[in-house]
């Protein structure tokens, strides 16, 4: 049960925001970094087979998350349980968590691919992971503020 004076966020509302945040990040990666900037490629010889597996997994995961997130959002709206601050908080949290994970685990720990090739990476890595952390912090802050009874709707 929830503590008095605090509203319990709808579980599907939260999940929908998180999934669509992940999906949005995947779409931004494909549109901005693959199609517009051409920093990322369909296949990077530098990455080898590990990059291939991780790219394929992330592509399937972000698309699946997008479709599932939209269905959950439709259900939330049908029940009139939509609360915009909670939902945007969850979207930013999902996007930030995904971006941070990609920057830290894929780029630095597993080293499957990099933000850009042929340049000094430090600035790019700081910007990439920094953007993820900022998004994540903003999302968590919004979620925390949305839990006060007067904040939403």
């Amino acid at each position: 049960m929830t503590a008095p004076g605090r509203t319990r966020p709808d579980r599907r509302l939260l999940l929908s925001g998180l999934l669509l945040g992940v999906g949005a990040m995947g779409a931004i990666d494909e549109i901005v970094f693959h199609q517009l900037l051409h920093w990322h490629h369909f296949y990077d010889r530098a990455g080898g087979d590990a990059a291939l597996v991780s790219d394929g997994l992330l592509h399937a995961f972000t698309w699946s998350a997008t479709v599932a997130g939209l269905a959950l959002l439709a259900d939330v709206r049908r029940r009139s349980a939509f609360a915009s601050r909670t939902w945007w908080g969850a979207v930013l949290t999902g996007a930030g968590a995904f971006q941070t994970f990609d920057g830290v685990v894929d780029h630095k720990v597993l080293r499957v691919h990099q933000v850009r090739y042929g340049v000094d990476l430090l600035g790019y890595d700081v910007a990439w992971i920094g953007a993820g952390v900022v998004l994540l912090a903003a999302g968590l802050l919004l979620l925390a503020r949305s839990r006060t009874p007067t904040a939403d709707r």
Binding site: F42, Y43, R45, D49, L52, V53, D55, G56, L57, H59, A60, F61, W63, S64, V67, A68, L70, A71, A74, D75, R78, R79
Partner: protein, 246 residues
């Protein structure tokens, strides 16, 4: 060989149309069945199937016969139509078959998706493709196998027809996502390691990747639409039996 395939497909079209005549049956389902068979015919017998050393043509045929056709055939709900048209004792035998242990195993979305994507990996990863590509008989056999396992996987995920052991939407969505991941990785792997003796390998791999994404997203959308609709029914039932909302 082509004649036999076309004759079988034409027979399937005829049987379905005859079965749908006297029962109240959505014309959309009939259209879906006929379109599915037409797409299967294009993938199994058309110029795409004849262009053996061309990986792009091979994978275009695979997309049609192994992915697009199964979705259309599943949406046509052929087993539901069969159960309606059969005499009661025969229909009972069919539903006993659907409830049997082998059907339960094969109809599990994780098993069905693994059979489908695993088969593709064996075909493309083992050099078998080179052998198959130059023998029309083997090529047809493999294409039919791709159609049937694609159909099984799509049916297990979407469960349009009666499915006594149907898994929840999350399990089916995860199975579909896992299949999509396996498919994506295979497409990229083919791009990076094109099989010996084929042309247009890179274009083919891109086609498999992009086309696979479109079909998988459509199947995911159909699956979640089904969930969205079923939630309305669940909620209506809950409201009539319980005073407080859940």
């Amino acid at each position: 060989m082509t004649g036999v395939v076309l004759a079988v497909l034409a027979l399937l079209a005829l049987l379905y149309v005859l079965a749908a005549v006297d029962v109240r049956w959505s014309p959309l389902r009939t259209a879906s069945w006929l379109a599915g068979l037409a797409v299967a015919a294009a993938g199994l017998t058309g110029p795409l199937a004849a262009a053996h050393g061309d990986l792009r043509a091979h994978l275009a045929a695979h997309l049609l016969a192994g992915m697009v056709a199964p979705v259309l055939l599943v949406l046509a709900a052929p087993v539901t139509l069969l159960l309606r048209r059969l005499p009661v004792h025969r229909a009972r035998a069919v539903s006993r078959l659907l409830r049997s242990a082998p059907a339960q195993v094969l109809g599990d979305p994780f098993v069905a998706v693994t059979l489908n994507v695993g088969g593709l990996w064996v075909l493309h990863g083992s050099g078998l493709l080179g052998t198959v590509a130059h023998s029309p008989g083997w090529h047809l056999l493999v294409s039919v196998h791709v159609l049937l396992t694609g159909w099984l996987a799509t049916a297990a995920v979407l469960t349009v027809d009666p499915a006594p052991h149907r898994r929840g939407v999350v399990a089916r969505a995860v199975a579909l996502g896992a299949g999509m991941a396996g498919h994506d990785v295979l497409a990229k792997w083919l791009y990076a390691h094109p099989p010996a003796g084929v042309t247009n390998a890179e274009a083919g791999a891109r086609l498999l990747y992009d086309g696979g994404t479109v079909v998988h997203v459509v199947v995911a959308a159909l699956l979640w639409r089904q969930w969205y609709r079923s939630r309305a029914a669940v909620r209506a039932a809950v409201h009539t039996t319980q005073p407080a909302g859940v």
